[in-house]
């Protein structure tokens, strides 16, 4: 067991999950007298609520109460959000609805069947208003305004100038520019949101069980909305969560809603979201319009970039938005050495579902225009796209690399990884095949994309939404903290408590591997407790499982907690054995002298002494073995020039995708997907590849299948799994994964986060491959998803000849 970190260890979580013994939110039981909530939702994207009559609903036997916005408003504050626009966002509509699916009333009844019956009896009168769903139209003069008190649909606007952009554009041989639109899509974990909320009047406190996955900075936002001190809002997260991919951060308005409903109706309230609700009214990524301009030299070198980015945050700007605009701020220039950057960033509100965290958060929106424009530069200069990439890649000797916008890329060897990609994907060979295929009337294409994968968010990055002057008014925010607790009981057995709210990533397994290696105990003998309880766990505002932070932050906290325990065990052993601490080491459950192996004592015995016989401990030592470590990475708040290192570690992903397109039908067949990763030191390669594949298929969905489609009247057209298409097993291409490891100098184990990289890269690399296949038609793919329908239309509307046939 001496070397367990980095091994393909199978997971400790699996047996319970394979035998139906997982404990998800809907499996954990409820307090007596718990009633079930069902939510009446707006059928209109934009309307005034004139009246709500629920008298008939109350007559149904088993109904315990009905709650509307007017009932909850006196008990709540609007949610706080990190922008200066005065948007008032409550978890339920007060006098106006602003998207289809917005909660309008909540029925509480003996069971969900009765609650849903009662929804049909509620009569709501609306006065409809003109909706607006298009990002750019929402910015036009005379567009319908969602929030009258804000005065426009802009929730946030910031402009950033880094380096000398004007000079870069003057020196350029040419400017390559285009407009891109990234679609709104979702994450759709197979388990939906679930909450059990209980209000206790005597203490004016709320106890919540929910499959909330953090970040726990949202805890203070919830407590603020409920008008209670934060220690009167206890949130308990079950150990099993049925997937999240970011979206279960967005449960927080419903936590507040169920809390206040429990208070008003006077009983514990359980709510399990259904699938239609999830698609219409949980959360999603932003759709984004980007105008990108690249100042390019004729040898392919990019001297500078200008980007106008407009994120559609939906009907209300909701925490942690506008973070989607800024999460990738430090890595806006991706894997390239581009020192001059101008960014004009808008968060725009329209009559669509509010947005939030989704796997890749902002990355796919950022890299779609960036990696598309790199391919367009190659086309314009008649260069090979691989040569344009290579011309601009950050060189190994430049690390740690400072980006234009303040990022510090901790480590990497991008050229090595890129060369490995081209070799693995047989790039040159495919180019030859492509030429031959075109002669035969076949459409083959190859796409490339290189991206930097940020992980472990610097909690200060979100304040970049404010101007330096606005930031000065508040407490500076920085860092990226995670906590872990390790205890040893009187019989020498180990419990580990983590605060990373795993949603399938195997944190229990990896935590046990780390502790095993440090304490010399087999990993399957270690009990890892993944439940998080805000009243009893060690946690921080950064806790949770977002931003791929377990490998970088969570594992580091576990590592340091284990080191603390090890130091204490050795101190006690040295005292009991009457030998020097420095001569002791831990092996196979024994603390043993390095020079005289006959001198040893078991961990069980040492731990036993700490509990049963505290007087035997070294003088002044506390009894028991219970150590918490808080780990934080060096991450500064934004400076006066808006420079911000928005993440802690930065991995690298290089993708090569080959496609064949049927010119008759527009169908896209992915021949091969190659991906090369550098995520520093890998803690468990089995889990690593699982994370990569999952993220890749989510990205594939964004590229080709998934979209929350609204018509121009604001109606959602993809409200069920019949219309919202998630990739299934038959859609998955052949995937080849390769790794290189350049350890992070910032984390004790050298690990970086991963699992989001291909969600960021897949949409653009597939777009590049398809566009390459369609090159003879002279078309530009600038929106997603790329469906056969779109491809067929492009081919048929093209004025160019296409391939000879």
């Amino acid at each position: 067991m001496s070397k367990v970190i980095g091994k393909r260890v199978t997971r400790v979580e699996d047996k319970r999950l394979l035998t139906g013994q997982g404990k998800y939110i809907d499996d954990i039981g409820t307090p007596p007298n718990t009633a079930h909530a069902a939510i009446l939702r707006s059928p209109y994207p934009h309307a005034k609520i004139i009246s709500i009559d629920y008298s008939e609903a109350l007559k149904i036997p088993g109904v315990k109460g009905v709650v509307t916005g007017k009932d909850v408003q006196p008990l709540l504050n609007p949610f706080s959000v990190g922008v200066s626009a005065p948007v008032k966002y409550y978890p339920i509509a007060i006098d106006k609805v602003r998207y289809v699916g917005e909660p309008v009333a909540v029925v509480v009844a003996k069971n969900r069947y009765i609650a849903e019956d009662a929804l049909e009896k509620i009569k709501v009168k609306y006065e409809t208003l003109e909706p607006i769903v298009d990002i750019e139209r929402a910015l036009e003069e005379g567009a319908p305004i969602l929030h009258e008190n804000v005065g426009s649909n802009i929730a946030n606007h910031r402009t950033f100038h880094y380096g000398d952009v004007d000079k870069a554009f003057q020196q350029a041989d040419r400017i390559v520019k285009h407009r891109f639109h990234f679609p709104k899509y979702s994450a759709t974990p197979v388990e939906t949101y679930g909450i059990i909320a209980q209000y206790e009047e005597s203490t004016d406190s709320y106890t919540i069980h929910a499959n909330f996955h953090g970040p726990f900075v949202l805890h203070s936002i919830m407590a603020g909305a409920l008008k209670v001190p934060s220690n009167r809002l206890r949130i308990i997260i079950p150990k099993d969560i049925g997937g999240s991919y970011g979206i279960k951060a967005g449960i927080f308005p419903y936590i507040v809603l169920c809390s206040v409903v429990s208070r008003l109706v006077g009983c514990p309230v359980k709510w399990i979201e259904d699938r239609q609700e999830h698609l219409a009214a949980s959360s999603s990524c932003t759709d984004r319009v980007t105008y990108i301009e690249a100042a390019v030299r004729n040898d392919g070198k990019v001297l500078g970039l200008k980007m106008k980015i407009m994120d559609n945050v939906g009907a209300y700007i909701r925490a942690p938005e506008p973070a989607c605009l800024y999460r990738n701020h430090a890595n806006t220039t991706g894997a390239y050495d581009i020192p001059n950057l101008m960014l004009d960033a808008y968060a725009v509100m329209t009559n669509k579902l509010p947005t939030g965290l989704i796997r890749g958060y902002g990355g796919q929106e950022t890299y779609f225009p960036l990696e598309r424009i790199m391919q367009m530069i190659a086309d314009e200069l008649e260069m090979d796209p691989a040569d344009v990439i290579r011309r601009n890649l950050i060189k190994k000797e430049q690390f740690p690399y400072k980006t234009a916008s303040g990022g510090v890329y901790d480590s990497g060897d991008y050229e090595k990884a890129f060369d490995l990609l081209l070799k693995t994907g047989k790039y040159e060979e495919f180019r030859k095949k492509q030429i031959e295929a075109r002669k035969k009337g076949k459409l083959l294409g190859v796409g490339l994309a290189v991206i930097v994968e940020p992980s472990g968010s610097n909690m200060g990055y979100i304040t970049i939404a404010l101007t330096p002057e606005e930031r000065k008014a508040g407490l500076p925010k920085s860092g990226c903290t995670e906590a872990a607790t390790i205890s040893i009981d009187p019989m020498g057995n180990v419990n580990v408590r983590i605060s990373t709210t795993p949603t399938g990533q195997g944190h229990e397994t990896v935590a046990s591997q780390i502790v095993s290696e440090i304490l010399g105990i087999p990993h399957d003998k270690i009990n890892v407790v993944a439940e998080l309880d805000t009243a009893t766990s060690a946690w921080s505002i950064a806790s949770g499982s977002y931003s791929s932070r377990f490998a970088s932050m969570g594992s580091s906290a576990v590592y340091y907690a284990a080191q603390k325990v090890k130091r204490k065990l050795i101190k006690i052993a040295a005292h009991l054995l009457q030998i020097d601490e420095d001569s002791l080491t831990i092996e196979n459950g024994q603390i043993i002298s390095k020079t005289d192996p006959s001198k040893s004592i078991s961990i069980k015995r040492v731990a036993g002494s700490a509990h049963w016989n505290p007087l035997s401990l070294p003088e002044g030592m506390e009894p028991g073995i219970y150590e918490t470590a808080y780990y934080t990475a060096q991450a500064e708040p934004p400076d006066d020039n808006d420079l911000i290192n928005s993440s802690i570690t930065y991995g690298f992903v290089a993708d090569l995708v080959t496609v064949e397109i049927d010119p008759e039908t527009g169908e896209i067949h992915i021949l091969d997907y190659y991906t090369v990763h550098d995520a520093g030191k890998l803690l468990n390669p089995l889990i690593v590849d699982g994370q990569i594949l999952g993220g890749l298929v989510h990205g594939l969905g964004g590229a080709m299948y998934e979209e929350l489609v609204y018509d121009d009247k604001g109606q959602l057209l993809t409200g069920s799994f019949m219309d919202y298409l998630c990739p299934t097993a038959t859609e998955i291409p052949r995937v080849t994964i390769k790794h290189i490891e350049t350890p992070s100098p910032l984390t004790p184990l050298g690990a970086k986060g991963l699992g989001e990289g291909n969600t960021m890269s897949a949409p653009v690399v597939i777009a590049n491959a398809v566009n390459d296949a369609l090159k003879p038609y002279g078309v530009i793919i600038d929106s997603l998803p790329i469906t056969p329908n779109k491809v067929w239309s492009m081919i048929n509307q093209s004025t160019k000849q296409g391939v000879s046939s």
């Binding site: 199978t10 997971r11 979580e13 699996d14 047996k15 999950l17 394979l18 035998t19 139906g20 013994q21 997982g22 998800y24 809907d26 499996d27 069947y113 994450a187 759709t188 974990p189 197979v190 388990e191 939906t192 099993d240 969560i241 049925g242 997937g243 991919y245 259904d274 699938r275 949603t503 399938g504 990533q505 195997g506 089995l686 889990i687 590849d689 699982g690 994370q691 594949l693 999952g694 993220g695 890749l696 298929v697 989510h698 069920s720 799994f721 019949m722 998630c726 299934t728 097993a729 038959t730 998955i732 995937v735």
Partner: protein
Amino acid sequence: MSVHKIEVTINGKKYQEQVESRMLLSDFLRETCGLTGTHVGCEHGVCGACTIHLNGSAVRSCLIFAVQVDGQEITTVEGLAKDGELTPLQRNFIECHGLQCGFCTPGILMSTTDYLQKNPQPTLQEIKEMLSGHLCRCTGYEGIIKAIQKTVDENNHHYEAERR
């Protein structure tokens, strides 16, 4: 709402319960019988998480009413392993990292177990087509497919060995 008395055998045990006619089988299994291993992901028959065996065939329990199974035999994910001994398929899910969050897993195990009993030597494409009735958002399906293929290979070796 009328109430019916039903008797159903689940994982070899008899359950005598009263159910409303509109109660879904998935809710009956989870709420009335306490068998929470069967998961509910969409309630419109797409995601496959709620798949169980009804008289030996894989079916979506969210698309069946509890009253319809009166007198029938059901197996849920809790009934796969016997005396704590995992089935070869379950073991291969561990070996091949065929699950992450585990929410879709029970349904996939039930479909696959039924499928392999009826089609012991499927091709890769046939495995994918069988699996396409299930949504998994964690794994990208590769670990699941590997686990199924490994089970098929082991069965074939076993079969070959017996023939020799």
